[in-house]
């Protein structure tokens, strides 16, 4: 399958190479995609834009055969198709660069690029010489100096991105889909990528380009599709839209519909981060969070925000810099020390890291307080129940029985249990990573109300969020990260969509000192 059956159709037909009609997809109760309408034509570069959570990645996964649509049609060259696996999509000539890392850390760059499609020699044996040459050629075309024989483990995010791109270019794709390929790339690397994309377009490929950088979109794309809240809401030629139009179509709602933060008395600094650095991940990050204050850490996925939070809480050990809580320096790399100093940490992945899904709601909610609840090493069941009941009432948790497994709860209520778990330790600082991801709108505003209430009682909150309305509605101050560095610090008064997006995409002249 060396592209033999993937010949580019040179018929100058106007029919779309790939088309989605009224496609929809739900994950449980969450409708990730609806009204999915999209047509990609040969020789076209189409932008797909929208906020985080607008459904872009779901649409890409449907095209790539990773998830199956619930309803609607998918056509290739006008014929209905139904992909059951990424393999089928690939055989149909669709190459996808996914946002999440899909690389094999233990294998060489060359093997990562050609995996499943190695060049073969006699007896169908892998031709390592040809493999090396082919991958070297791809890397040269992308203008990067990387040794194809080097293992992927330890590559920087930017280099990993390059390998992903090389992987997608390694076969003669008729359709190339790129989900934020430039998020971690530097200027010259982006230029190289664009040159390659233009060549592909001239060769007749159809390209779908997803990016948050609107200037890039304007530079490379011919047409644009806008998504919002899971639906395709606009389709236009790029020449007919200004960047302002795009932002308006993307946001399309009033910020006031979200729960705004109540005013709180801002007190002393609770958290001081001094020049925190972890090689290859984030660099020289310094900031403070004060009592009663909600500070948002904004930026694109992969900018290093969660990694900074992990380092503050002591999950990862930083290479340089240190963290102080109320003036006392924390021992690096020790979560228990961070907990004792008064930090609570609500992680991004609540199912994997925040909760033990099979344990009861009560046990989950009191997990951080087992020491205080036990006598001679035995947990006092009644005390556990009392504490859990108290928090359930305070957080207005909706549950059937406290002895039910936490997995029975809805996403929003699960998040409340995680919050209860940390609030029970009476923290001075709460770090919340994507506090409302995958939570329905109603519960979302409840979580917001809760955070606001906690801040008004003097809790310092560091909130990582990829949702702009949430950042702008909740934060007293917005810190923006781009490629591992802080690029802006904006007060509530100056922070708006544009200033945050500009800083998150690295379009700032002055970095924060």
């Amino acid at each position: 399958m060396e592209g033999g059956n993937l010949e580019i159709d040179h018929n100058p037909s106007v029919a779309a190479v790939v088309e989605l009609r009224d496609t929809s997809k739900s994950y449980g109760a969450v409708r990730a995609l609806r009204d999915g309408n999209l047509a990609l034509r040969s020789g076209e570069v189409r932008a797909l834009i929208g906020e985080n959570g607008a459904g872009k990645s779901t649409l890409v996964k449907v095209l790539g055969g990773v998830v199956r649509r619930d309803a609607g049609d998918m056509l290739i060259d006008g014929e209905a198709v139904d992909f059951h696996s990424p393999h089928e999509a690939r055989d149909a000539g669709i190459a996808v660069i996914y946002q999440e890392p899909t690389l094999f850390p233990d294998l060489s760059i060359a093997e990562n690029v050609v995996m499943g499609y190695h060049p073969l020699g006699a007896l169908r044996r892998i031709d390592r010489g040809a493999m090396h040459e082919r991958v070297q050629g791809l890397l040269d075309r992308l203008g990067v100096r990387l040794d194809p024989e080097r293992p992927v483990r330890g590559l920087s995010i930017a280099d990993q991105q390059i390998v992903e791109i090389a992987k997608a270019l390694s076969f003669e794709a008729r359709v190339l889909i790129m989900d934020e390929p430039t998020a971690a790339l530097s200027g010259p690397e982006v230029e190289r990528l664009f040159a390659v994309v233009r060549t592909l377009r001239e060769e007749g490929a159809a390209v779908l380009f997803i990016s948050h950088r609107l200037d890039e979109v304007a530079a490379i794309c011919d047409t644009v599709t806008v998504m919002r809240d899971g639906a395709v809401v606009h389709d236009a030629r790029i020449a007919d839209m200004t960047p302002d139009d795009m932002v308006k179509r993307m946001v399309g709602r009033e910020l006031s519909t979200l729960f705004p933060k109540q005013d709180a008395e801002i007190g002393e600094a609770v958290l001081n981060v001094h020049r925190l650095t972890r090689e290859g991940v984030f660099f020289d990050v310094s900031f403070e969070v004060r009592a009663g204050e909600i500070v948002a850490l904004a930026g694109l996925v992969g900018a290093g925000r969660s990694e900074v939070a992990r380092a503050i809480f002591g999950i990862d050990k930083p290479d340089a810099g240190h963290v102080e809580v109320v003036g006392r320096r924390l021992a690096p790399g020790k979560p228990l020390a961070a907990m004792r100093a008064g930090i609570g940490f609500v992680p991004e992945d609540r199912r994997q890291q925040g909760l033990v899904m099979d344990l009861s709601i009560a046990r989950n909610a009191t997990m951080t307080r087992l020491g205080a609840l036990s006598r001679l090493g035995l947990i006092h069941g009644a005390a556990e129940d009392r504490l859990a009941r108290e928090w359930a009432a305070r957080l207005q948790l909706k549950f059937h029985r406290l002895s039910d497994p936490a997995g029975f709860l809805s996403g929003g209520n699960q998040q409340k249990v995680v919050l209860a778990k940390w609030l029970a330790t009476e923290p001075k600082l709460l770090i919340v990573d994507e506090p409302t991801r995958g939570i329905d709108v109603g519960t979302k505003s409840e979580v917001h109300r809760l955070m606001s209430e906690l801040a008004s009682r003097g809790l310092a909150v560091l909130m990582i969020s990829s949702e702009l309305p949430e950042v702008l509605g909740m934060a007293d101050r917005v810190l923006v990260m781009h490629e591992g560095r802080l690029t802006a610090e904006l007060s509530r008064a100056v922070a708006d969509e544009e200033s945050v997006i500009r800083a998150a995409t690295g379009q700032v002249d002055e970095a924060v000192a």
Partner: protein, 346 residues
């Protein structure tokens, strides 16, 4: 291979290659060095150890374990494990003995084919439960470990196969040599090289590494993961089946307990040989060398008249030492690779 690159690039790539090559060499050379050291020390303490007969026995005993370790490697690199290999070996060993004692005239290649097929069928069951049933391999193969062993007990009904009832042509396979090399060793080397090259140089083999290194990534790259994992289990079963036939040829006397506890020795051999228990890395050759090293330790401790308890303790200690060593190397390599990337980015 001469690829023209800019001077800076070649310097960087040269350094990277040195690193990976160094790690690779250290891993397999490390076992060879440990082997040499062990043989030398034992020989000094007890010169009888390096007599031909002693070394012959050592090599023959290690052969069956090495074949099983090769099969186990296929499964381990996919981030799975096969605990049932000892029981599969037992089933196949009794099957081969039963076939030959009731039909002494049976063609030997047919006995091998049937034994291997029985093992492959066991592997197929494991593979189906793991891939389609989506049950963790640890649980599935723990279950089949007991199930296959139970079948062997029911089947043998307390009887055993004796060497007298087996044809000499078959038993000679376990004792004869060609050009001074035991036939069993020759068979093992051929099998290991075939499996080793398949894993190293063929698409299907490389895809096993991809699956173990990043299962979701493999799926997104279009790798047919389920089919590949199924293949790995079938091959591991087939190799255990082959091991069973060879076991009967070697020992002649077989009952339902043949191969009890082999699975742990085999996994230990693979891990000592550098196969990561969490998948993605390791080679069949390393695993085979690991089996040889474990066999040599046992032999040398026996010849040095060390008590049986200490033999087990020594193997355990070696295992822990290897894991600690691997972890140390892994951390250093990670840090070095990370630093180099940081420099490039900066």
């Amino acid at each position: 291979m001469s690829v023209d690159t800019a001077p800076g690039a070649s310097a960087e790539s040269g350094q990277a290659r040195r690193y990976t090559e160094w790690v690779f060499r250290v891993r397999e050379l490390g076992i060879v060095a440990a082997l040499a050291l062990l043989v030398a020390v034992t020989a000094i303490l007890e010169p009888r150890f390096i007599e031909t007969d002693s070394l012959r026995n050592l090599a023959i005993n290690a052969s069956i374990f090495a074949i099983l370790a090769a099969g186990q490697t296929l499964v381990l690199v996919t981030r799975n494990v096969d605990l049932s290999v000892g029981s599969v070996l037992g089933l196949s060993a009794y099957f081969a003995g039963d076939l030959l004692s009731s039909n002494p005239g049976m063609a030997l290649p047919l006995v091998f084919v049937l034994g291997i097929a029985l093992g492959a069928a066991c592997g197929l069951l494991n593979g189906i439960l793991v891939t389609w049933g989506q049950v963790p391999a640890l649980v599935v193969t723990l279950g089949t470990l007991y199930m296959f062993r139970g079948l062997a007990f029911v089947w043998t009904d307390g009887q055993q196969i004796n060497a007298e009832t087996l044809p000499d042509s078959f038993l000679n396979l376990g004792t004869d040599s060609i050009l001074g090399i035991p036939i069993l060793v020759i068979i093992a080397v051929i099998v290991i090289v075939i499996v080793g090259q398949w894993l190293r140089d063929f698409r299907a083999g490389r895809e096993l590494y991809a699956i173990g290194s990043n299962p979701e990534g493999a799926r997104l790259a279009g790798v047919r993961s389920e089919r590949r994992v199924l293949t790995a289990f079938v091959l591991a079963g087939a190799l255990a089946g082959l091991g069973g036939v060879l076991f009967t040829a070697r020992f002649g006397t077989v009952d339902a307990t043949a191969g009890v506890g082999y699975e742990l020795t085999v996994i230990a051999a693979a891990v000592v040989g550098g196969v990561a228990i969490f998948g993605g890395t390791g080679s069949v050759y390393g695993a085979a060398l690991g089996a040889l090293l474990l066999g040599t330790i046992t032999s040398s401790l026996i010849i040095l008249k060390v008590e049986a308890f200490w033999q087990q303790a020594a193997i355990g200690a070696l295992l822990l030492l290897t894991i600690a060593f691997d972890r140390l190397i892994g951390l250093r390599v990670d840090a070095a690779l990370r630093r180099r990337s940081a420099r490039r980015a900066g």
